[in-house]
Amino acid sequence: MNGSEIRDSFEKQWQEALEGAELSPSGRVWEQIDRDLANADASRYKRKAIIYKYAAVVAILVAVSVSIPSNWIRKGASDQFVAQKENQPTLVSIPSLPNANGSDDAGANGISYNHIISFPAEKDEEKSADKRVDLYTDQHTYELFTSISRKGSQGLDVDLDQFWIDPVPDYSFSSVVSQRNKYNRFWAGVGLGSSSFDPNYQSNTTDEVTSAVLTSRPHLVKDTKGGGSISSVSEEISEGVNFQLGLNMGMRIANRWTLESGMQYGEAMLTTTTNIVVENRHFARSVPLSSEASNLESINRTQEIVEYVEDDVVLNNTFHFASVPVKAGFIILDKRVNLRINAGVITNFYLGNTLKDPTKSLATIELSPGDNSPYRTVSFSGHAGLSVGYRLLKNLDLMVEPNYAQSIHPFIGTSSNFAATPSGLGLSAGVRYNFK
């Protein structure tokens, strides 16, 4: 009898006998799986935060590597311009120019003279510069000239080496000269952002936390099943991800300086771990106990005995903020691709946070701003970033900004027994409309 025949008898009997067999494992298996999955979820958030960190760092490096060479190019071009100015047009700003026929009536017949070009060419020679030239004045830059002609001595009471733009009616002049966006004074935009959010959580010593959370509450007693001795409270808030959505508006306050503000809504998703769970017959579910929730009225007010058990729990801790940033910007590059360094202060309005058990087996704790909250309603953070813009349409820019924010004002109230100074590297993106 060969192997397959054996499988047909003895083995088949075993297979059939055990087919459909079911036995219930103990409840601890799912509890452990649940815990492992919650930890994995927390790790996933951490990994995301790390990815955002690296993305922001890469973006900053790319932006810096683009901006430095472009500055060199600009500087090089400037040096070259100086070197070649004998042959190149340079701008001389003249508030009032005579028109072509030599009169002083600059505005007559709808004719305007905006600029005059110094062009030390040979006398009496007609010259033209039919090309794109960047001309800088105090308030405007024009980049397109169709015709710059030398008029020599014809009717101009100026040196022969001076040339001016051919007088054209205002409307036609506008059609010839295009004004670039950087001279649009105001803009408004919408943006989305994401960043790592490291609370830099610093707890007091385990004994101090234990004292603050447990010892000071005589009504909290350890579940008799867990033994009589008081527990040590151990807790932590770990790094997560912050998402923002907002409106912004800005204005150019000088040739290279900008001022920007706006309004943002943000959610920071962190992870809180604690090892104490409170059970009370008034609560529909057990409640995780942490320093954050130490001011919970519902626990403080009760005079009856409340039992707690030691149980490591991982909670999703979601903070809600409204923020008002005020940022000053310095324009490094203002071409189709533009670069701006921003720095400023963000006023953060804490709107509350939620401690939620992903397994839904514990009650959700919602903390609101106010006297009972461990967090200050208003706090401030410093902000620095490098804004990179790209002209999509005539008045529409696509903006990306790697940035870094650091808390500069206590986020935690003085009565709390832990500290947190949030910081994070982030990347925001959006569009901005430039008003004429």
């Binding site: 083995e11 006998a17 067999a21 079911e22 799912w30 839904k360």
Partner: protein, 187 residues
Amino acid sequence: MSFSDEELIEGCRKHDRNMQEKLYDKYARSMFVVALRYVKLEQEAEDILQEAFVKVFQSIGKFRKDSTLSYWIKRIVVNTALNHQRSKLYLYPMVDVTDLKKKGDEADAISSFSHQELLRMIGELPDGCRTIFNLYAIEGYKHFEIAKLLKISEGTSKSQYSRAKSLLKEKLRLYAKIGYERVGDQG
């Protein structure tokens, strides 16, 4: 409310903890039996079950519908059990055999035993025999596949299986005898 496998898979792919728990509830009992076949102690089987289901939830995105969900989970449980066993798998030195000959034709009334009794008999086998018996007789692996899986020779797999089979037949007879004696005592 019961969910189809497709709905459970979709929910688990979204990391929906409720759906993960429902999938666990649906398959945990049958998979616990699979895990129990590979170990002596229930505690060990629970550890295997826990590890296997975490793997299931973490890799459910890779599940392709070329097999049933039940079969896919079972493979993960078996592989997890084998990983647990590998570290302590000791195969008694035996003479390799090249072919298995049937030594008897006992009509073993396996179906007359309860699941728990059968699992106890399997659990009492030496680790190596138990693993190979499970793979060959229950999971349906061939000896060359078992040899590859456990990095042993095909002959070793056959000889270990032969020993497992012999031990099990002995246990079947013993358990049957105890059972009859108990029935007799009660009568």
